[in-house]
Symmetry: C2
Subunit: 444 residues, 2 copies
């Protein structure tokens, strides 16, 4: 019936998750004599590091989210399933999943769990309504509608306080996503939207960037952090370091700074890029194997990315806890390739090795044709940085047409144009009972 | 405060709705010495005749939905407002609207109401859940997720009946939208998805097209209707003419054919393109003016598109009822230009004329590089038709980059590729309690 059935004698690998880790594992495995089933509840591989570009109108979501099924069209030994994994039976070697069509039990000989992380509000899930994260396609669309919708609300408002609040954007978390998003909001405000409004001056929009640490892009090292600080200041992002959000509501947030003082900021648009927590599948597979998880729910793995006593079960990417490796795309890709290699070597009877991560560096796009790059120790910024940034992003973007489309969109964005803004009045959340000076006659 | 206030001495025109009618009126008026306020609850001008292309993965929504604000960036006398119109006071010459930022009362000297139509289920609004229409951006995204999600559900299902139902697509209404959508679903099934699945053969997908009339594209005339019938049959669309849907649920629909027989079709994906009803704003403005509405709620206007006793109030496009003119983009555009012309002529003290519609013909895209076109009496089909179709659609698509992107996407689609498919498991509606043979172990 299914292709599994016809070839059940081959070694079966189930890969859970189609992010960077799962994608790279499945791609590498597709060249070995194994049967791969790739399960994801999303039909698409999402290039997460570019989600902020969708949220700020530079590229359409489809460009950074090719269908997994299309990626593996020609790899006949890879079967893609759209389904939500609901549990594991490690003794019977089964993965349980619910698809829109059926409940499934997927047998495996090797299992790779690459379910990734989601936004964490550190125990304050009630913030989510007011301050969406930026980890999924839906997040990006929500954030985009809110950002561009806020300018619309400001244009329509006659109340100076409300208008100021609509034109204030707070980004919590100054890692790459927070930095890139802040920079792009300022860029949209000062260039894209500059001539589009009649009542407001979009360039007066404030962008506040909060982080508990002492500098933005802390993981990039002092040199590049300083560069980022300077660039962000130049384009008008207001940096608030050593600052922790202590409360978030529908009109703004409260922040405690290093000296213990608490300040309230009226900001109608808040984006949360401050923390991540492991997918619940992490805890699920850890419990089934008797493995430990760290505070963020990541699964503690052996040096070869497998679980103790379960050499056939790999946990990779953001979901694994190993040697304090950072939760970046590069770790996910390399651990995916590693898991695929171990499986192949075992089938060939060869010796396997522990996972060895090669740090390729980090990069962030902080403004018009300006990026900050640390590539294997080579530190670049400005336009040279941008060229490197563009080259690396095009390399890892999947699909020729998507690369072409992204490049075209980046070129267009350099001129200030962003046309990827589709939303309606109902997409803009109004604070309860706000601003409604009934029948304020405009223009009289 | 607002730009209205600064220039209130100029003649003020409020345009309600940014579809073809409102867009063409506002564009033409922007060249006159008037103040234009364009109000729409959507931030975008939506090229409705291409929505089926978004639903079938050919072009991203942003390509056919440029922001109204961006379109009018350089027209300084046009102010765009994102707001939902809530009422009219024709005596005080005010339009009431609710924006996310404020409640507004917009004063006008001339008013153009171009709020268009929505999907009508002829009194059966309960069908909407199971059979979305294809009139808005949200519709297109919903329909797209359901179409591509249905193939996913079929792939995951082991139950042959359920699989067949997931692979059956019913389109109700054989006007241009229904015909184009049916053709594109077949095209996706037989080309795009052909090699992507492992358990199902996507080409076995059935597409059923139902219509109460005797032939598809009835308004195109017998010659082109016959052409369309032949083409649809050739690509495998099953035509059911003289057939009325008598009930719709989460698993399919019942249809009564010309001989009175009622047949049930199990189809998990149903799209409703059969009927339209006027926006409620039509009835609202008609009541305020004491004008009549027709059965579909369209406003009966005088020959110059104004309301009786209210020469300063125009109702245009799909929302107007005049001389049995069809609800097509061309009527909307021409009536928009007409209203703008009348307003200008009045300001110049010139005589005004009744609206005179010039029929430019009709066209529909029915398959790979194959369109059916009646352009001012010139009847074309096949590839010549496609060229004409492409030229006309590019002409009316707004924005250079959008034209470029559309052309590129069409070229890509000719090869069978469609990458604009972003969805997840939760986007696929499962019928209550269906198909869930618990723990059916796959591939054993």
């Amino acid at each position: 019936m299914s292709s599994h059935a016809r070839t059940a004698s081959r070694h079966r690998v189930v890969v859970v998750g189609g992010g960077f880790g799962g994608l790279f594992a499945a791609r590498r495995l597709s060249r070995s004599n194994v049967e791969v089933t790739l399960v994801d509840r999303s039909a698409n591989h999402v290039f997460q590091p570019m989600l902020y570009q969708c949220a700020t109108g530079i590229v359409p979501v489809a460009t950074i989210a090719p269908p997994l099924r299309a990626i593996f069209r020609r790899r006949r030994n890879v079967c893609v399933l759209l389904a939500e994994v609901t549990g594991f039976d490690l003794d019977r070697r089964l993965v349980y999943a619910r698809s829109p069509g059926a409940e499934l039990a997927l047998p495996y000989d090797s299992l790779i769990v690459a379910a990734g992380v989601r936004t964490s509000y550190f125990g304050h899930d009630e913030y989510a309504r007011h301050a969406p994260g930026l980890k999924t396609v839906d997040d990006a669309m929500t954030v985009g509608r809110r950002i561009f919708g806020a300018f619309e609300a400001a244009e329509a408002s006659d109340d100076p306080d409300a208008r100021r609040a609509w034109l204030t954007f707070a980004v919590v978390g100054a890692g790459p996503t927070g930095v890139e998003l802040s920079a792009q909001i300022r860029r949209a405000a000062t260039h894209t939207l500059k001539r589009e409004y009649r009542s407001i001056d979009s360039a007066t929009a404030r962008v506040l960037l909060f982080d508990g640490g002492t500098e933005p892009l802390a993981t990039f090292g002092d040199h590049l952090s300083e560069r980022a600080t300077r660039t962000l200041r130049r384009i008008g992002v207001e940096l608030h370091m050593s600052s922790l959000a202590t409360s978030v509501d529908d009109r703004g947030l409260e922040v405690r700074s290093g000296d213990g003082q608490v300040t309230r900021y009226d900001a109608r648009t808040i984006v949360w890029t401050a923390g991540v927590a492991a997918s619940p599948l992490g805890r699920m597979v850890a419990e089934a194997a008797g493995a430990s998880t760290d505070r963020a729910g990541r699964v503690e793995v052996l040096p070869d990315c497998t679980l103790p006593g379960r050499p056939e079960v790999f946990v990779i990417g953001d979901l694994m806890s190993l040697d304090h490796l950072p939760g970046v795309a590069e770790v996910a890709m390399q651990s995916g390739l590693h898991a695929a290699r171990v499986i192949r070597h075992r089938l060939e009877g060869r010796e396997t090795r522990p996972f060895h991560y090669v740090d390729m560096g980090s990069m962030a796009y902080v403004g018009r044709g300006h990026a900050i790059v640390d590539f294997r120790g080579l530190k670049l910024s400005g336009f040279l940085g941008w060229l490197m940034w563009a080259a690396v992003h095009l390399t890892f973007l999947t699909g020729f047409m998507n690369r072409f489309a992204a490049l075209l969109n980046w070129m267009t964005a350099l001129t200030g144009t962003r046309r990827v803004r589709v939303f309606s009045a109902s997409d803009v959340p109004s604070p309860a009972g706000a601003d409604r000076a009934a029948e304020a006659v405009r223009g009289r």
